[in-house]
Structure formats: structure tokens, C-alpha cells
């Protein structure tokens, strides 16, 4: 392997990692805050991609419109699911299993709705015209769009990190994650903040779908295989940890990229699981896990 092909594989790893991280961040934040696993997360990812097909393909608008549209639509739908379903179950004291079933049911209904609206045939999504072609630096040429995906993910994660650590609302969110009851008895409107954060999580998943569209395929099953790896990323990083998601996303992205290039894609995935298991034997809570938390 030459240095140039090595660099290309590193970039491939980071591109894969970018999609993983965007998807995993919303899941892990919601878990850290409310202790629930949102099984519909993959649906929101898929919806982001399909909305882009409509906004760009049917309405003829730009990719740059599709990105905020997908965020907003998924934010609103996620918030609605939280208010109408999860908040109710939580207020009845039915937290974990019932929410698992609720979100799984929502995902199944949503997926069938997508099939009805957009059909079952895999569709192609184009790279936005301003990002077509390759960027060349030294011996390496790499698709501009893929570099954009890496940079965009970096910005989203930086924004989330600053939000949690530097803003007042971020402090309130972390206080709910650490002890919701005490935080509420100090005046925090936890139900409203939970809804907001749930919506941000599904909104970011929607943007992940928009970004992944031109790289991976757009079809009604696009989330399934990806979601398994996403759970590996989250558990490996430590449930509830944003930093953990970034670190483990990059490690697993690189394992997949190099494993695929050197052996096969199947081997790469097996290797990713093997690494996760090995880490969990040494650190049962994952790389950055300390139980439920946000950081």
C-alpha cells in the first residue's frame, strides 16, 4: 500500500465515520437524557434522504434547501412523536420497554408510508453541482462531496459540543441527564427540554440521510444494516457520551475502510464487532461510558 492509497483509505474511513457519527449522536444523546432507545431513529434517517429526492428531484430546489428542510421536518416529526407518545408513556411510569415498542411500531408504520409515497425501487441521488468532481492535494485525489460530508459532520459535532458545554440550556440538559427529578425540583421544565433534544436528535438523523443519499443507496431498507453498526458505535463509545461517539465512530470507520480495502467488506464488519467485544471485556461501559450522562 502506497502512502497515497493509505491516505485515501483514511479519508474513506472518515467519510464512513461521518455518517455513523451523525446518526449515532442523536441516539446516544436521547439515551443519555431520557434513558430510552429510539428504534425509529433509522426511519428519520431514511426520511431525510427521501425528502431530498422530493425537494431536489420533484420541486427542483437546491440540495442546500433540502438540508435544512430535512432537519426541520424531522425535528417537528420527532418532537411530535415525543409529545404524543414518549412523554405520555413516561408520565405513566412506563419508560424503557414500552418506548422501545412504541418507537419500533412508529418505524414500521413510517417505513410502509415511505414505500407508499416513494415506491420500493432504490433511487439515485445526485451530488450537488457545486461539489461534483475531485479535489487534488499532492498525490491524492478525493471526491469533493465526501470531503464536504466530513467537514459538515465536524461542524455539527462542534456545535453540539459547544451547546452542551457552553450554553445555559446545555447545562440544564446535562442536569436532567444526571438527575431529572432534582433538576425539575430546581425549576427545570424537563418535559419541554426532552422534547427539544429528541427533535434535535431526529433532525440530525434526517441530515445524515440527506448527506448519505448520494454516497449510499436510497431505498426503504437503507437504515437497517447501518443501524446495527450504529449500535456498535454507541456501545463502543459508551452510552450517552458524545465524545465517545466521535472517537468510536472514527475507529470503526477506519476499521471498515481498511478491512474492506485489504480483505473484504464482510471481514471488515466482523472485525468491527470483534474490536467492540474486546473493548467491552476490558471496559464494560465502553470507551467513555459512565452510565447515563452527556458530555
Amino acid at each position: 500500500m502506497t502512502f497515497a492509497t493509505f491516505l485515501v483509505q483514511v479519508l474513506n474511513g472518515l467519510t464512513i465515520a461521518a455518517i455513523y457519527i451523525l446518526l449515532a449522536s442523536g441516539l446516544t444523546i436521547v439515551f443519555g437524557l431520557q434513558g430510552i432507545v429510539n428504534c425509529a431513529h433509522g426511519f428519520f434517517y431514511m426520511l431525510g434522504a427521501y425528502l431530498t429526492l422530493t425537494v431536489v428531484g420533484k420541486l427542483g430546489l437546491s440540495f442546500w434547501v433540502a438540508l435544512p428542510v430535512a432537519f426541520l421536518a424531522n425535528f417537528l416529526l420527532g418532537a411530535a412523536l415525543e409529545i404524543a407518545g414518549i412523554r405520555k408513556l413516561t408520565s405513566w411510569g412506563r419508560e424503557f420497554t414500552h418506548n422501545l415498542i412504541l418507537t419500533l411500531g412508529f418505524a414500521l408504520v413510517g417505513q410502509e408510508a415511505v414505500k407508499l409515497i416513494w415506491g420500493t425501487i432504490p433511487q439515485l441521488m445526485n451530488v450537488p453541482s457545486s461539489l461534483t468532481g475531485m479535489a487534488t492535494f499532492g498525490p491524492v485525489s478525493y471526491p469533493k462531496y465526501w470531503l464536504f460530508v466530513i467537514a459538515f459532520t465536524g461542524l455539527v459535532m462542534l456545535a453540539l459540543y459547544l451547546f452542551f458545554t457552553r450554553t445555559g440550556l446545555g447545562i440544564l440538559v446535562r442536569s436532567i441527564a444526571l438527575n431529572s427529578e432534582v433538576s425539575q425540583s430546581l425549576g427545570t421544565n424537563a418535559p419541554r427540554i426532552n422534547t427539544l433534544i429528541f427533535g434535535v436528535g431526529t433532525g440530525v438523523a434526517g441530515m445524515a440521510g440527506v448527506l448519505a443519499g448520494p454516497i449510499l443507496s436510497v431505498d426503504p431498507n437503507m437504515a437497517f444494516e447501518l443501524l446495527i453498526i450504529i449500535f456498535v458505535v454507541i456501545i463502543f463509545g459508551g452510552l450517552g457520551s458524545l465524545v465517545g461517539v466521535v472517537v468510536s465512530g472514527i475507529i470503526i470507520g477506519l476499521i471498515i475502510a481498511f478491512g474492506t480495502a485489504l480483505v473484504t467488506g464482510m471481514f471488515a464488519k466482523i472485525l468491527a464487532f470483534a474490536v467492540m467485544i474486546a473493548i467491552l471485556i476490558v471496559k464494560p461501559l465502553g470507551l467513555f461510558g459512565r452510565g447515563a450522562q452527556l458530555e
Binding site: S175, Q184, N189, E295
Partner: protein, 247 residues
Amino acid sequence: MLELKGIHTYYGESHILQGIHLQVKEGECVALLGPNGMGKTTTLRTVMGLTPARLGTVLFKERDITHYPPFEIARLGIGFVPEDRGLFGDLTVVENLKVPFLNLRQRQGRRWAEVEDRIYALFPVLSERKKQMAGTLSGGEQQMLATARGLISGEEMVLLDEPTEGLAPRVIQNLIGAFRKIMEQKHTMLLVEQNIHTAMEIANRCYILEKGRIKIEEPMSVLCQRPDLLHQYLGIVQTIDSPSVNR
């Protein structure tokens, strides 16, 4: 200011509070005494809306708050210092204080600098620990932080649950000094205590709870003179010095 009328509270099927009546007037410090498992903590949790009453009424400034959600009760100006302190261990001291402040600012436009000055005047050691994680503080410092947090949200009154539990005598003296200063500022307090000495030092009046019911209501000074009551309800045998404050 605060009034509980015929409160019945359950945990699942167990009937914990069986008709509590009590009252806290403005500027008063009321102690809720009694052995473990008699419903003292549950009484505070009922006021806070964390374990709402199934029957009865909680009135705060003549307003029925029995079924308000906890955050709205807090926003009326009732501060809560929970048992075992309930600090956010992975947040810094300042961030812990900011949680009630941020919720307060929304409704009253208070400035952080003012709030901070007031707190550090009361607990100077906290100003030296601003950036430290709350989980790494000593027991006494943790209690000060929890109390400070409760004072920020509790502009009208504060509910304190066993603030001196597990602390060294010297640290307890320190805290009692701070509680007295708080009471001198015309604050209102409902204090749950196991440690009768702490209650003697700061409370004006007390209720003794037994099996979810109020058995005794007396001024603190009267209770001190009644070894029979102290023995019967609190299991205290030795005589107790009369309180060093007289109010």
C-alpha cells in the same frame, strides 16, 4: 405561607402519609422530627410534587399546588435540598448553581453576579471551588452547595431534608451558622431532621411524625423541656441543653 390539609400519600400500594396537617408561616423555621420511615421525606416530596398526594390539599400562599408538576412548584419560589443532596456530580460548582438560576432568570430577570455574591457571602468556601466538579467536594462542601442551590430557586421558602446527616460536628456547626444567617434574612424554612440538636439551634416550632401522622406540635422551646416526649417519640434519653438561640 405553606399549608398541608389532610394529606394522604402512597408509594404504590403502601399508605405512607395518613392525613398530615401542618402549617409554615412566613419567616418561620419549622422542624419535622421523627424516627426513620415515618414519612418525613415523603412529606417534602409531596410538597414538591415529586410524589403527589392522592388525597388532601397543599396550599402555597393560598394557591392549591397539590397537582402542579415539580418544576412549576419550584418556579413559585420553593427551593428543595433533597436527602443525600442530589448534586449533579459531573457538573462544576458554578454549573450546579446555574441550574436554578437559569430557571429563575426566565421569570424574574435576576443577574448572575448578584445571585453569586449572595451565595458566596453565605458559603465563602464555594467561591474557591467554582470550577471543581461537585462530585469531588467534601461532604460539608456538598451540603453547602446543595443548600445554596435550594436557596437560589427558593426565593420564598426552602425545604431541607436532613442537611446535617453524616457530617462531622465541626462542619455541622458551620452549617448551622449559615442556616441562622439565612433565617435572619427573613427566609422561611421547613426542615426535616434526625439530629434534634440541629433542630433546636434553628427551628422555632416543630412537628413530630409517627407512622404517617402528626403526633405532636409544639414550639421548639417547649419540646426541650419535655423529656417524656423526647423519649417517647424520638428515643432520646439524655437531657438536652436549652437552645442557644431564643427567638
